[in-house]
């Protein structure tokens, strides 16, 4: 799979070398906003290891602190492109959230990276009630949490408070999906709040929250600080779930087609490089720098390899695909996955279903731009949509299968939902 045409043929671990030749004509500056998370690796690698330069792009990375800022600074042209949560372009297509403005994505930055961590105390209570040994799967953990919540209600104690990152985030929908699979209603049986990921360990140890679902490395950091217990990772909930994407203003994509195509090529090469296990030490080194994630290189390296310590007692777990940056079409923006995100927004009462809205959602993910930039290649899907969750490697935690052609029917299959909650201003579209 070595498709980086370096001139000197010099190769690093895994046969993928950082590029040496550079496209000389017309260097273009692209300013990209990002949040310091491991799932920004492809963007960071493109800037740091020469992949962008080789395509004639000077990639300027600008660190930011909140997704709302990323959204606004992209809208107001302080950024050309941005590291974004996959649900953000979908929310913008649906006009949801404060200050929505048009955003599309031609490129997914990969899969994986999230996990659900509970406080050690809450987990101890689950162990006591459900006889957990510590090696149970994600679904058993959710069911054990359900037992604890039932007990909490009987005793009249306050409901657990769980943190996510943003109302339109994969974390929000994944945490809800996991809770609901265990029979827990995310709006009635627990209290969901938003906590900035770097603050999750502190919030957990201070007792401000009882758990959270955020991206790497913050789950592992909470375990290392002996305040948290990882009970599920993204792969347990839905392995194909897209995590972060490159968000682009449609107007910028239209007026800079060549730059966008070069950027996609650079990101594709960087993603392939990031996927090689032997390159991940070097990647961890760069990510650990203060201008990026500013945390322990060792934790970052273990996170990148999917080698977890799940609790302070030292339980270990290895998730080989904890990060897929490139393989199995990880960068392909599946329209069916945008529709799945839409289905979860409907499920939790953020928006109502309509064929018009479904049509708008389909314009948020742009596989056509991805294909145009990379040309025909055997590893690029020919379809834009597929049935999600149909294969074992792609299964949802509750065994549901998502057919994007029939969202209302799919939603009828869920016992736990907020479908009855009608959203204010629902008839506008």
């Amino acid at each position: 799979m070595s498709f980086i045409g370096t001139n000197n043929g010099q190769s690093m671990g895994g046969g993928l070398a950082a590029p040496s030749a550079m496209r000389s004509e017309g260097v273009r500056v692209v300013r990209a906003g990002f949040i310091p998370l491991v799932d920004a690796s492809v963007l960071i690698a493109a800037a740091e290891f020469g992949f962008a330069a080789r395509e004639g792009i000077q990639l300027e990375l600008v660190k930011d602190v909140s997704w709302a800022n990323i959204r606004d600074r992209l809208a107001f042209r302080q950024f050309d492109v941005a590291h974004m949560l996959a649900p953000m372009p979908v929310a913008s297509a649906l006009n949801l959230g404060s200050n929505p403005s048009p955003v599309i994505t031609p490129f997914t930055l990969g899969r994986g990276g999230n996990a659900i961590t509970l406080s050690v105390n809450l987990y101890r209570r689950m162990q006591a009630l459900a006889d957990l040994t510590g090696d149970e799967g994600a679904l058993a953990n959710a069911e054990a949490l359900k037992l604890v919540i039932d007990d909490i209600k009987v005793r009249g104690e306050p409901l657990p408070v769980l943190g996510t990152t943003y109302p339109f985030s994969s974390h929000n929908y994944e945490l809800r999906y996991w809770l609901a699979a265990g029979g827990i209603h995310p709006d009635r049986d627990v209290k969901l709040v938003v906590v900035p990921p770097p603050m999750t360990s502190d919030a957990l140890s201070a007792g401000a929250i009882d758990g959270f679902c955020v991206g790497a490395p913050w789950n592992m950091v909470a375990v290392a600080r002996e305040v948290g217990r990882i009970v599920a990772v993204k792969e347990d909930i839905w392995p194909s779930s897209p995590e972060k994407v490159i968000g682009v203003r449609p107007e910028w994509a239209d007026s800079n087609p060549e730059t966008l195509a070069r950027l996609i090529v650079a990101l594709d090469r960087a993603a392939a490089w990031c996927d090689v296990p032997d390159n991940r030490r070097e990647l961890a080194q760069v990510l650990s720098e203060p201008r990026y994630i500013d945390t322990s290189e060792d934790i970052l390296h273990r996170v990148l390899l999917g080698r977890f310590t799940t609790d302070p007692d030292g339980h270990e777990r290895t998730v080989p695909d904890y990060f897929s940056f490139h393989r199995n079409a990880a960068n392909f923006p599946w329209v069916s996955q945008a529709q799945w995100i839409f289905s979860q927004m409907i499920r939790w009462g953020q928006v109502a279903h309509s064929p018009e809205r479904q049509g708008k959602v389909a314009t948020a993910f742009r596989p056509d731009l991805y294909r145009n930039a990379l040309g025909p290649r055997s590893d690029i899907p020919v379809e834009d949509m597929r049935v999600e969750g149909g294969h074992r490697a792609d299964g949802f935690i509750d065994g549901a299968i998502f057919d994007p052609q029939n969202i209302p029917e799919y939603l009828k299959g869920f016992q736990v939902h907020n479908l009855e909650t009608r959203v204010a201003g629902d008839d506008e579209v």
Binding site: S66, A68, P100
Partner: protein, 195 residues
Amino acid sequence: MSASLSIMVFDENRIRASIIEEGLREAGHDRVVVLHDIAGLARQIEQIQPDVIVIDIETPNRDMLEHLFQLSRSVRKPIAMFVDSSDSSSIEAAVDAGVSAYVVDGLKKERVKPILDMAVSRFKAFSRLQQELAEAKTALEERKIIERAKGILMKSRKISEEEAYSLLRQTAMNEKKKLSDIAQSVVMAAAMLGS
């Protein structure tokens, strides 16, 4: 002017927050609440029911506000919006300056704009102030390093202070470098040579 607006300012930087608060009071707004700490923000919003929330965009807690507004939307409370989305030039100026404002739906744009404009100009004034401070600090550091370099040269080459200074200046001119850079090199070299 009809009933005054209730304004909440959330800024973890106390100095900046007080600069904004002062500006708002000068402009005749007497219902201003300033918060520095995210703890209890949701409860405060519920209690105070501000018409406008001005927030510094350097805080990662902005995403928490987005969540709160999404929640209140689903329980049919007033919808909070980022100013009036039709007034993009205001938002753009705000984002540029590093401030955001959220207003409760239904409030007229004309009433919010002066508040936002004021916040933007205060934010800019604050960053100018910070820059001046940083520059003053750098100038002081540079003077100190030049003094040290002079001292080293005077001692090692047994020359006068004026001679040491002109040696530094001449070298800077020859090398096309800043005087302070040359001084820095002298100090570093001296440290490495153990003199």
